[in-house]
Symmetry: C2
Subunit: 277 residues, 2 copies
């Protein structure tokens, strides 16, 4: 079976220093000629490759990969995480979900709790929400003045540079959906009693601030998509496209990191299958 269509995550990468416009991104995008079945098959193959590369990353123990996921409510963060980690050794992947900061966390700078959760060498860390909330929800609600938000873009770039300089690859993904799509997802939650626990009336209040959120996202992405720690804005309404493009991004990133099995800690001529007992 020939794969005519290549899925290319790089088309969703936001180049540093460009006037990126979120409104110009079609949240329902999928490449012409790519159908769901083919995409799902490619996704499966990608996941197998992630699994292989992850084992090498783990064995090597010298580099880490941090994936930051942000989205509006119902954007699909949870299901994305599930889809792209399926079958990958759970010991090599750690997912951390950031909630509202605790009293203990608020007693330190806002990056303190985030730094604490960065992946160990050899691991893949996935942040479900992240330090970006400190320039998203915080900005939208005016919980910090504009000059503080302004400082934070620099802090964040500095922090991510520390990580990349010391062996952690950082990839940031916004799952992009439209306001109409969110409405359909919220309605779906209300239709299904087993999803009621996920519905919170406060979500509707946040929803009314949609344009402010889009502004905040646009600014964060413009200011913090760097050469070393890029932002990808992934159209997320076609879940099968979202999955395959993100698994492809993981494959490409891990391939580029090129983890290698470490040399054996023994002399292979001394210890052979026949010699041991």
């Amino acid at each position: 079976m020939e794969q005519v269509i290549r899925v290319d995550p790089e088309i969703h990468r936001v180049a540093p220093g460009t006037a990126f416009s979120l409104a110009a991104v079609d949240s329902a995008f999928a490449p012409d000629g790519l159908d769901k079945d083919a995409a799902q098959e490619m996704h499966k193959q990608n996941i197998r490759q992630v699994s292989v590369l992850q084992e090498r990353l783990f064995a090597e123990g010298k580099q880490a990969l941090l994936v930051v996921l942000q989205a509006m409510d119902t954007g699909g963060k949870d299901s994305t995480i599930r889809a792209v980690t399926r079958g990958v050794n759970p010991q090599g992947v750690r997912v951390y979900g950031f909630k509202a900061p605790s009293k203990n966390e608020l007693a330190r700078d806002y990056l303190w709790r985030v730094h604490h959760q960065v992946p160990r060498k050899g691991r893949i860390g996935i942040f479900n929400r992240s330090h970006y909330e400190d320039v998203l929800i915080v900005r939208v609600h005016g919980w910090a003045p504009p000059e503080v938000i302004e400082q934070r873009y620099a802090h964040i770039n500095d922090f991510e540079r520390l990580l990349t300089d010391t062996g952690t690859r950082v990839v940031k993904i916004m799952l992009h959906i439209s306001k109409e799509y969110q409405l359909s997802r919220l309605r779906r939650r209300l239709k299904r009693p087993d999803k009621h626990w996920k519905f919170n009336p406060d979500d509707l209040k946040e929803r009314r601030r949609w344009p402010d959120y889009m502004d905040a996202f646009e600014n964060a992405i413009r200011r913090c998509s760097t050469a070393d720690a890029p932002w990808y804005v992934v159209p997320a309404e076609n879940r099968w496209y979202r999955n395959v493009v993100i698994s492809q991004l993981l494959v490409d990133t891990l391939t580029d990191m090129n983890p290698a099995f470490p040399p054996p800690s023994f002399d292979p001529t001394e210890f052979t299958p026949e010699s041991i007992q």
Copy 2:
């Protein structure tokens, strides 16, 4: 398709206060009439059920499940973890592997670092090795005197009672293999260069202490298999049996914990699919 053979984890449970003998356990056991294909199909079904129950556990957020895995080298801890968590939401499962304690950890009591890693409510925590190393390798090497080891069984039972009294179910599993089986696995590692990083000549030194390890396991299991935090000694040489019996144990345990979706945080007559916008 009728399932004639039921896989029953309870046959591997060590009853408290019995004179349990490890030598009496057939490490290559599989039930008569259960074949590999049927076991794998049952395992798949179990995993789907674990996934469903885990979502409820997460949504409920009131209970946790801690699975402790211990085994001799090559016993299959890693591949077991992979098999039983496949497809389960990685945000709801956290695997923690205990290595030799750090200086920082040694500066506290031996349960300090373990306590730190217990699962949050709503989560499944899996320990790859655990506090039991403090009565296994430590005992075998005489790193602590017998009277200290003796104390530890009581500490461990007390610690696990604290967990079970406060909402964490504790299940402990020994993956049981024979010394001969281990040899075949070590030889396999030496045959495959991509597995060399897993081979450590020190493993051969530990291997020579096999009878001491079996003694240490037997004692730990006898002393610490309690009604609330039982030990299961699972025959681990047939991996397909090992997988299905452990996934069945997870299903049975989670079913018994009976997690429930929380009531909605809103009035479902006020917020309906039609009313929101």
